[in-house]
């Protein structure tokens, strides 16, 4: 049950020769795969390529029509190993995952794959989660490509170029028996654009044939002496073959400019941004016609010496635009130019930022520095001092806007991501806060997933995060007799990805005494709600419903508790307390289950609306706060942080502190009420139950009730009225 459905969009995958495709980059990549005749696709979800997995999942009938196998891999390592099918057989295969975290996990398989080399085209599509909005460490995939000798494509971020490089990638891979990595930056993945589609191509060789007529070639297996031969092959055969292919197919692009003595070398992925910078400097127009010659490296690795030399020959200086660090390409170019004795000055991270995303602003600044240095553009004049002129006659204009008292930084707050309204993970951490009040703070080893938001306000829980599924592993060393136990958090996604072995089994084997909380919300919620083994939904093409508790017991954990309603804050608190204080030795595992509210609402809202329309009885819960009993302390917010639990001006003329209020976005999960109960906060919370299409009997009972209560209320009101003024 993915967060977003592409059922409508995937129809575009059927477009034929010459038709115009209009849509998202990710979808275009999928179409390109179909046009390239792939036999199998695999991958692991994660921004920014989660949608690619969702598209493929929603497109399975189209894929099967084409005889294509789609695998939801257990991890990026699984996905990379899947490419083994292209080692012995002329099968085209593609895998996808996010970089660099996914590439980290996959690198063992990738290294083995690259050593033996491939027969069929093998394409690794990595979604580069770098720069603004990124949720991971800032590194480059480039290093992985270099260390294992995998060719790295970095196309210009427009749909036509992206689609072309997918197709070229397979040809390049086959021409040089080398896997190819296609790097897509996050904005390119989500870019909406158009390209002219080609015809879909079924695979020439099928998996069925491979399974029925297996072939083997021991020289492709990574074991001495073959492994030593592989290294030689890489240099003596595959590299030259790749260079030849890249030159002949003109994968890199040369754009001439009228001023030949300066040049810009830019990675394809940064082309649009660089063009905008040049356009702002008046050196190019909106169509990409540049006065300065450009060499666009749609292939980031390998660097083609001959092309570099051709471009730099006779130039005074060139500017290299290479995002991220270390500056691998810059070092490489320096060697090439030096050894060839080319005099062109090489500039790169001396004028551009050494680290960080290459935004338009950053490139504009760097390019300006470069072109000013070589006298290509005039230095910017200093801003002339503004002199106050008193108008002779009062201008009849709108009054000038008022002067703000505080700087903008003071009044604009950060908006850290947090748990959604009604998120089932919130009560888990509310409960942890309550236990913290009783037992004091514990070391909390966090994991990757929505639950990592616990490190932020209002919860401030979590000391480290060592990677996906490594929450429990991150507490491994904290395994000595002590007055407190360490707490680890792990999501169901991370659990199946590797946490079961790297964390739970490891804790069993090493006789850990710590607590691991497994947050089970029915699918990998953070990446967009893709199904996994323990998903409740029955998935037509996958086997689900495998209980986490069974797996945990299976590896030998004795103390296992499963809470099927995380919203029961008191229950959660008591179980946590027990897990942290019980005399019982050995690892404790607490499985906290409740469905991701974001997806649940997406699924159920329409159903409820329909039921109401059909006149069925529907009960809607909404929580609220009585503003006349709320004293404006906001403890409830500090224990919850729910987006729908907010504040509003105090209606009480004697009070100034704002009171808590529940916004209409409330989904009635009940967390705030349960928290105020468990924490003995205040009696201001109420739950309103609104019954649509009630039964006749209900209406009658309600009439009697409200009649009696109304009568009593009127009496009371009269008494107060006498004293009112």
């Amino acid at each position: 049950m993915a967060e977003r459905s592409f059922v409508e969009e995937v129809k575009k995958l059927k477009l034929g020769q010459g038709e115009v495709f209009s849509g998202e980059g990710i979808l275009a990549v999928t179409k390109a795969l179909l046009e390239s005749g792939v036999a199998y696709v695999a991958g692991y979800q994660g921004a920014p390529i989660s949608h690619l997995m969702d598209v493929l999942a929603d497109a399975q009938d189209i894929l099967t029509e084409q005889g294509i196998r789609f695998e939801n891999s257990a991890s990026e390592a699984t996905a990379a190993a899947t490419l083994a099918a292209s080692v012995n057989y002329p099968l085209r295969g593609a895998v996808t995952f996010k970089a660099t975290v996914g590439t980290n996990v996959a690198s063992d398989a990738l290294a083995n794959l690259a050593s033996g080399g491939v027969t069929g085209g093998a394409l690794i599509i990595v979604g580069e989660d770098y720069g603004e909005g990124s949720s991971i460490m800032q590194e480059r995939s480039h290093a992985f490509a270099m260390k294992s000798q995998i060719w790295l494509l970095d196309p210009r971020p427009n749909l036509t170029s992206i689609v072309e490089s997918v197709k070229a990638g397979f040809d390049l891979s086959e021409a040089s028996n080398t896997p190819v990595m296609l790097q897509l930056r996050i904005r390119a993945c989500h870019v909406h654009g158009q390209f002219v589609a080609g015809a879909n191509r079924p695979p020439e060789f099928t998996l069925k044939e491979a399974m029925e007529q297996p072939q083997r070639d021991v020289s492709r297996i990574v074991l001495p002496p073959a492994s030593f031969v592989h290294e030689q092959e890489k240099i003596k055969e595959r590299w030259p073959a790749a260079v030849k292919f890249i030159e002949e197919r003109r994968l890199n692009e040369f754009f001439d400019g009228d001023h030949g003595d300066l040049g810009v070398i830019v990675q394809g992925g940064s082309y649009n941004t660089m063009m905008r910078a040049l356009e702002r400097l008046g050196l190019a127009d909106v169509y990409g016609n540049s006065q300065v010659p450009l060499y666009v490296m749609n292939v980031a690795y390998p660097v083609i010496d001959s092309e570099v030399l051709r471009f730099c020959e006779g130039k005074r200086a060139v500017l290299l635009v290479e995002e991220g660090q270390p500056n691998f390409i810059e070092q490489n170019l320096a060697t090439i130019l030096r050894q060839a004795g080319v005099s062109a000055q090489l500039h790169g991270k001396d004028v551009l930022p050494v680290a960080g995303e290459y935004t338009t602003a950053a490139l504009l600044k760097g390019a300006r520095a470069f072109f000013e240095r070589y006298g290509r553009i005039e230095p910017q004049p200093l801003p002339a001092p503004v002199r106050k002129i008193i108008p002779l006659v009062q201008a009849k204009e709108l009054p000038a806007p008022p002067e703000p008292d505080q700087p903008i930084e003071e009044v604009v707050h950060a908006r850290p991501p947090g748990f959604c309204t009604g998120c089932p993970e919130r009560p888990i951490f509310s409960a942890m806060k309550l236990v913290e009040r009783e037992l004091g703070p514990h070391h909390v080893s966090a994991d990757i997933g929505c639950h990592l938001f616990s490190i932020l306000p209002p919860f401030h829980l979590g000391n480290t995060t060592m990677g996906y599924g490594l929450g429990a592993a991150g507490a491994a060393a904290l395994n000595v007799p002590a007055g407190k136990r360490a707490i680890s958090v792990m999501g169901d996604g991370g659990f199946w990805h590797n946490g079961l072995t790297s964390g739970i089994a490891n804790a069993v084997f090493n006789r850990s005494d710590n607590l691991t909380i497994v947050v089970d919300n029915n699918y990998t919620s953070a990446t967009g709600g893709q199904d996994i083994l323990s998903s409740k939904a029955n998935n037509a093409t996958r086997s689900t419903g495998h209980e986490i508790e069974q797996a945990v017991r299976g590896v030998g954990v004795k103390w296992v508790k499963t809470l099927r309603r995380t919203y029961d804050v008191a229950g959660m608190r008591d179980t946590l307390r027990e897990a942290l204080t019980t005399k019982e030795k050995g690892p404790k595992v607490l499985i906290a289950q409740s469905e991701c509210m974001l997806n649940k609402q997406r699924r159920e809202k329409p159903l409820v609306r329909k039921a109401m329309a059909d006149g069925k009885r529907v009960v809607r819960d909404k929580f609220g706060v009585d503003s006349d009993t709320c004293t404006g302390d906001h403890s409830c917010i500090r224990l919850s942080g729910c987006p729908s639990l907010s504040i509003k001006p105090n209606p009480d003329p004697l009070r100034s502190d704002p009171v808590a209020t529940v916004l209409d976005s409330c989904v009635g999960c009940g967390n705030c009420g349960d928290v105020s109960h468990a924490a003995v906060l205040c009696p201001s919370f109420y739950k309103a139950q609104v019954v649509s299409n009630p039964s006749g009997w209900e209406r009658l009972r309600e009439r009697i009730r409200s009649g009696a209560i109304g009568w009593l209320q009127r009496g009371e009101a009269r008494r107060r009225e006498r004293y009112a003024f």
């Binding site: 909406h192 991501p417 917010i637 003995v680 906060l681 139950q689 609104v690 209320q713």
Partner: protein, 501 residues
């Protein structure tokens, strides 16, 4: 060199606010009306309630064909190079200004004036809200044209979402080369919630067209109710206020009297006025600030929240109506109200008549029994006859409130407080004012209330120790520190810093 330029539009929204929908609408609008459109965004974790930017560029297809080229469109906004900025909320508009996306030479800024408070604003123990006028001032100065109104309300009124309102406002400003019909056709092509979206669009369109008055902030005039007491005792009290107190003090006092009659009875309100008279008699010359503060905080303290008070407030018809309104229940829908309450032994003892309460508190078995019974919180259905009568009974204990242990305790604290104010006013009125305002610390229920009272007593103790040597500003600092964090870390630090701990 060709000087053609794309139209550059940035949308600042929070996750789940329909920023993506708005971007897609604009793209569809462009593509159906002769424009090459590109949009992209960085959803990532921002989807989960964080702030995010959607960026759109539009370029006329005819122009491109005429020039025989294809535009290279950017994937992110460049500060100082944006034509239109749409912000779904006021602080997001501020963020656009902060990021330099809004510039006076060219940017039309469309923003909703409503606030979605940041977690920092919400979780403050006192009032942590940012002043909206500050944000408005920054936005107004940065933008070439600033179209703003409460779009959340506009959306609610038309049963739609903010994105539709923004789309309408965008059409209304006329900054894009498309007609109203083009915009509306886009919404219809979308096919989801078309009718309400069009309603929202329409109203926003008109609103944006006459932005002159839209610029004026909607502010409800505060009406001061002219008291018209009927009951003789009440009349006496009101006349007392009129006679003995300055005009600018009267509104607060009348509010206090109103509150305390409602809370207890006219005699209680009388006590209140007498106490304020005592303070007034000190003849402190600070422009009536001390009197005002005492009048305000004394009224609040004397109407401390106990079970009887809460029960009384929760059982009123006015409150039932408010809940109906807040829950958006229609006339043909039934409404049940459930209260989340957690009375503990303490609250029960405080509610019982003094003697009985004390006995139970100090008893053996009965006390343990009650404690066991009050382990878990209770959910009381006020809308059921049983629940209502139960709360009404609790509310009725108001009658013997004066005899309860809680009353004795609070009353004692109030007396000390007033006495301290009197003593201190003699040598430092400013410090007396600060002491009066320390009542603000004592609020909330159970743990929260105990914590507040603890902090209050710490401050009073500090004030007593320091005596005349305590600077008013220092006490204010201590009070702010007490409101800074739950664990009293900052307060302890401050007390240590001033050697008052």
């Amino acid at each position: 060199m060709n000087a053609a330029q794309p139209i550059k539009i940035a949308i600042l929204a929070m996750g789940g606010e329909g920023g993506g929908v708005l971007a897609d609408w604009i793209v569809d609008l462009g593509e159906h009306n002769g424009y090459i459109a590109q949009t992209t965004s960085v959803p990532g974790v921002a989807q989960r309630t964080g702030a995010t930017i959607y960026y759109v560029e539009l370029f006329p297809r005819e122009r491109a064909q005429a020039d025989g080229g294809h535009p290279v469109l950017a994937l992110m906004p460049l500060p100082g190079d944006v034509d239109v900025v749409l912000a779904s909320e006021l602080m997001e508009a501020g963020r656009a200004v902060q990021r330099g996306l809004v510039t006076p030479d060219r940017t039309t800024l469309l923003a909703s004036t409503h606030r979605v408070y940041s977690i920092a604003e919400k979780s403050a123990m006192g009032d942590g809200r940012v002043d909206s006028t500050e944000l408005l001032a920054h936005a107004a100065r940065a933008a070439k044209r600033f179209v703003r109104f409460d779009m959340a309300r506009a959306a609610e009124e038309s049963g739609s979402v903010i994105s539709a309102v923004l789309f309408g406002a965008l059409a209304g400003t006329g900054v894009l080369p498309f007609s109203r019909a083009h915009f509306e056709a886009t919404i219809e092509r979308g096919g989801v919630g078309v009718k309400p979206s069009l309603r929202a669009f329409g109203s926003a369109f008109d609103r944006a067209q006459k932005e002159g008055d839209a610029a004026q902030q909607e502010a409800a005039p505060i009406v001061q109710r002219e008291p018209a007491p009927t009951h003789p005792e009440v009349r006496a009290l009101v006349e007392g206020v009129r006679k003995d107190f300055s005009a600018d003090l009267q509104p607060v006092l009348l509010e206090g009297v109103r509150r305390l009659i409602d809370y207890q009875d006219t005699a209680y309100a009388g006590t209140y006025l007498d106490r304020v008279r005592k303070v007034q008699a000190l003849k402190v010359d600070d422009g009536g600030r001390l009197d005002e503060a005492v009048a305000r905080h004394l009224a609040l303290w004397m109407s401390y929240e106990d079970t009887a008070r809460v029960a009384s407030l929760k059982t009123r018809s006015s409150r039932f109506e408010r809940v109906r309104g807040e829950s958006g229940a229609q006339a043909d829908q039934l409404l049940a109200i459930n209260e989340y309450m957690h009375p503990r032994l303490q609250e029960i003892c405080e509610t019982l008549p003094g003697g009985l309460g004390r006995w139970l508190m100090n008893s053996g078995a009965p006390r343990r029994l009650v404690e066991r019974m009050t382990q878990k919180g209770r959910v009381v259905r006020t809308s059921s006859l049983r629940g209502y009568l139960m709360l009404r009974t609790v509310a009725a204990t108001r009658r013997w409130r004066r005899s309860t242990t809680r009353f004795a305790e609070e009353n004692g604290l109030i007396e000390n407080w007033l006495q301290r104010i009197g003593e201190v006013a003699a040598f430092n009125p400013a410090l007396a004012l600060e002491i009066a305002q320390c009542q603000r610390l004592v609020k909330g229920y159970s743990d929260t209330h105990e914590r507040g009272k603890r902090n209050y007593e710490l401050l009073m103790e500090a004030a007593r120790k320091a005596g005349p040597t305590l600077a008013p500003a220092t006490l204010r600092e201590l009070r702010d520190a007490a409101l800074a964090d739950e664990h009293g870390k900052q307060l302890r630090a401050k007390l240590a810093q001033y050697a008052l701990g």
